[in-house]
Subunit: 144 residues, 2 copies
């Protein structure tokens, strides 16, 4: 994991579909060398996935919320969450609440309806997202 790997990861973080040939031009290194470095980063588990980011709005999801949840039936609750299409992320957390989940719904009304279905498992505190100053900032230290 040297400077070159950092540069590779910085580019890939925002442009996963970039051709290796173009990436190799950007960092002034031969194609096979870059391919090998990327392969190793995958093998080492540094790269965990290549994902396509979709617009919630364009898919009809106009409301984003984080929901704090308190439950005493963790196993059942997790099974419920896995099957709930509204929930994209689920975290077990410290503090007064057990869980934090990121929820996408069509409207605030469908969020309310979703919360109602949750309430057999425990108690919720929804935090509605008003705006996103930024999201998905790169983890890689930009050494420039």
């Amino acid at each position: 994991m040297d400077q070159i790997d950092h540069k590779i990861l910085t580019v890939l973080h925002d442009h996963a579909r970039i051709p290796i040939s173009e990436l190799s031009r950007m960092i002034a290194m031969s194609q096979p060398a870059v391919t090998e470095r990327v392969r190793k980063l995958e093998e080492q588990g540094v790269i965990t996935a290549y994902r396509t980011e979709l617009s919630p709005q364009k898919l009809g999801k106009h409301t984003t919320a984080f929901v704090l949840f308190k439950t005493s039936v963790c196993k059942d609750f997790i099974a419920f969450c896995e099957r709930a299409p509204e929930i994209v992320d689920l975290y077990r957390i410290s503090g007064e609440y057990n869980y934090l989940m990121k929820v996408l719904t069509e409207t605030t009304e469908s969020l309310a309806a979703f919360l109602d279905t949750c309430h057999v498992y425990g108690f919720s505190t929804p935090l509605i997202v008003l705006s996103k100053p930024f999201e998905n900032k790169s983890l890689v230290p930009s050494t420039e």
Copy 2:
């Protein structure tokens, strides 16, 4: 946005670097047709980015936390957050707190140090992530 587009998005969500040729085989459609559909999804803004997901652990970030924050100097606070490498996501939210941020640090101690640097802007409540039952579930309705 028909069934085929949904299928394309479902595959791309988890495999952004898949060759179009392989994707076209999976959905039994010619390559140029799939290329054109993907191009339109990008143009329409349904696809917003192709990202590479990295392992925080492998990059030395062993602590994940969500931090609720209350500030009265929003503009300064956002400028601070943009420059803070620990913060990967920042959301403005409803409720008692103004902001929710996702923070990655090396240890819980470096989280504490980070929170100290925040406290000139307001008051924080950190929620440490103990585990992630799941993350990044697909938005696309899987119609199978």
